[in-house]
Amino acid sequence: MKKAIGCGIWLTLAAGIVAYAAEGPPQLHGRIVSKEGVQNARVWTFEVRNGGTTAVSGAQIDGLRLMPDAPQACTPVVKEPASFPLPLGDLAAGATAQAKVTIDFSGCANTAKFRVHVRLAGSGGAWGAIRRSNNYR
């Protein structure tokens, strides 16, 4: 199932919603490792690290949001995974995992910029986020 990710609407959260009621400091953090591929199948690779001192089981990317910096005539669509959350597995303290997301940017100008917000979650209330601005496809 493809999901539009323009206009600041969360892609996912239909399943595997993690409660954020009592958030402590973020235990999970990450970054965008690479962007490869063609415009209609751009593969973004994310790396997530358990920066805490205890293991996190069931680490996952809860959702990905791409918000255009300016009004644009395109709406990026996630092709893979079909739905979120995107499982990352169990992460020992200090361990990392990578996950790929394939996005269709058809119709987006070369200079179309997006704000990126990735929500991370895991067992025991572990959480984190990746926030970036000024990102092209």
Partner: protein
């Protein structure tokens, strides 16, 4: 002849190293800033990128405790709230033409210029050693070039640029004429009311005849 060849090789090597110099970040006027609770402090910057054929674009900023924020999660320094100006309100691209190899911005909280602001909410304390952590993407063509194509011109993403920084809550007294804080006003009002009550009570006592 051999010596000349070595000299040429050394020159070329040094030249190549100079071209591949990583970008630099300097905070303005300095990394250590201070202000009283409730005030907003911040940092200006100079970012330099002299690498030929590479342009960098800033994509995030944060203030992280200690040396966190690159290989570990960004730790909250805990004295207030950081707001990202450099990528949240601006788009800074550093490189050769059509851009410039050095960009400088002084901090201005009204116009959202600089690295970012820090609203101090703690009554006292200091962050201790901390650092500004920027992320940036690298391109082989300037994003401001009409021929820019992110599909083929993206060199790398989410690189880090850091500079030492700290925030200290100062105990600077407010200047003369500054309204007193509400709590002090309440104390003064309370004491005044108590004194007034006591005076009236004494006067009333004098007026009333003694009971038989």
């Amino acid at each position: 002849m051999k010596r000349t060849m070595h000299a040429v090789l050394a020159f070329l090597t040094i030249g190549a190293m100079a071209q591949a110099a990583p970008p630099t970040l300097d905070l303005l006027p300095a990394g250590a800033v201070a202000g009283p609770t409730g005030s907003t402090v911040g940092w200006g910057f100079t970012i330099t990128n002299t690498t030929s054929g590479q342009w960098i674009e800033i994509t995030s900023a944060n203030l992280c405790s200690g040396t966190s924020g690159t290989s570990t999660a960004c730790g909250d320094p805990g004295l207030g709230t950081f707001t990202d100006f450099i990528s949240g309100y601006n788009d800074i691209i550093v490189g050769s033409s059509p851009n410039t190899t050095s960009v400088t911005q002084t901090f201005n909280s009204s116009t959202y210029q600089g690295i970012g602001s820090y609203l101090i909410s703690a009554a006292s304390g200091t962050t201790g050693p901390a650092q500004i952590v920027l992320t940036y993407n690298v391109y082989s063509v300037s994003p401001d070039d009409p021929n820019f194509d992110p599909d083929i011109d993206t060199v790398s993403v989410d690189n880090f640029l850091t500079a030492s920084a700290s925030v200290t809550v100062s105990t600077t007294q407010p200047p003369p004429g500054t309204p007193a804080p509400p709590s002090a006003l309440l104390v003064v009002t309370g004491l005044g009311s108590a004194a007034l009550y006591e005076i009236r009570k004494r006067r009333r006592g004098k007026r009333q005849p003694a009971r038989a």
